[in-house]
């Protein structure tokens, strides 16, 4: 079973109120290193078979038409999850 990861972020010019709230909370917990936070979304799309180029292309299309709204968001990544390096 394969998995495609899609990541969507608010556009840079759109104020991200959620990120703003998070960056306000961090120093209260002692995390004073971070001057900005932007919060996005990660989708994991599962397929029964392999992640083929066709599957990736379909995921890209879904990302641009449904999973994101181009007025306020950018699709920043569409990738085969198995290729991900775990930190």
């Amino acid at each position: 079973m394969g998995r495609v990861v899609v990541e969507v972020m608010p556009k840079p010019e759109i104020l991200d109120p959620q990120g703003k709230a998070v960056v306000g909370a961090l120093p209260r917990l002692g995390f004073t290193q971070f001057s900005g936070v932007r919060q996005g979304k990660r989708f994991e799309l599962e397929v029964d078979g392999e992640v083929t180029p066709e599957v990736l292309a379909a995921a890209q299309q879904a990302a641009e038409t449904v999973l994101s709204n181009p007025v306020i968001e950018d699709v920043v990544r569409v990738a085969d999850a198995s290729a991900e390096v775990v930190a």
């Binding site: 010019e13 759109i14 104020l15 109120p17 959620q18 999973l67 007025v71």
Partner: protein
């Protein structure tokens, strides 16, 4: 098609999973003199209604983005077709979000800039009285109707905003204060033709004395929202 008589105008109100204000919208239609018709999101047939209201609420729990999933409802295909043919369509709050996701109106709504849910009586100016939903108002008239939302901040790129302003398609602007950070104090907009209007505040909650916002005639006497519904009836008679 013959022009429908005032009392025969049938205004559809679509219910999505998570819609909250469909009954209020239907009641507003009735109080204005129209016949409300309940429509279900999964039904692609609008049952011959003359106009459609997309009411407020939290369709699909605002999952993905507000209005994003409702846009794909079978009823919305019919609404998009009808709107392109000139049928009056009003989107209130979540309904406005659905209209932007369906690309019937430009821009989008993001979370209120202060992150809080807002619920208040809001003053708006009516800036365009040529639309199917505002022809009973005076240009520049101030109206007070309830505003209640979490994702009410209207955003669009500068080019789109300039275009909306240049074409007179800003229909309502917040007065007194901007409750959610909306660009250029925009509370509601229309399409080029003036048959599709979307706004965040709720006219359907200000249609009957005793149940509306505070008004000149005392507490809860405000009925400033009724004009939306009498406007569309007038527009349908003219059509």
């Amino acid at each position: 098609m013959t022009a429908p008589a005032l009392d025969a105008a049938r205004i559809g109100v679509i219910t999505f999973p998570g819609t909250l204000d469909d009954r209020d919208a239907s009641r507003a239609v009735r109080l204005a003199g129209g016949e409300p018709v309940s429509l279900w999101h999964a039904d692609g047939d609008l049952h011959g209604v003359d106009a459609v209201v997309l009411p407020g609420g939290f369709s699909y729990g605002d999952y993905l983005r507000a209005g994003a999933i409702s846009r794909f409802a079978p009823a919305m295909d019919a609404v998009v077709d009808g709107a392109k043919g000139g049928m009056p369509v009003l989107g209130i709050c979540n309904g406005f979000q659905v209209l932007t996701e369906a690309h019937l109106l430009p821009g989008s709504m993001v979370k209120n800039d202060h992150l809080h849910f807002v619920c208040r009586e809001q003053v708006l100016s009516v800036e365009n009285t040529a639309t199917d939903w505002t022809n009973r108002y005076e240009r520049g008239q101030h109206i007070t109707i309830p505003l209640k939302n979490q994702d009410g901040q209207f955003v669009a790129d500068e080019h789109t905003l300039d275009e909306l302003e240049g074409e007179g398609r800003v229909v309502f602007r917040y007065q007194g204060w901007n409750p959610n950070g909306s660009r250029r104090d925009i509370a509601g907009i229309t399409n080029a033709r003036g048959n599709v209007v979307g706004l965040m505040p709720h006219p359907e909650h200000a249609v009957e004395a005793g149940f509306g916002p505070d008004g000149a005639d005392g507490p809860r006497s405000g009925t400033d929202g009724l004009g939306f519904f009498t406007s569309v009836l007038a527009a349908l008679v003219r059509a």
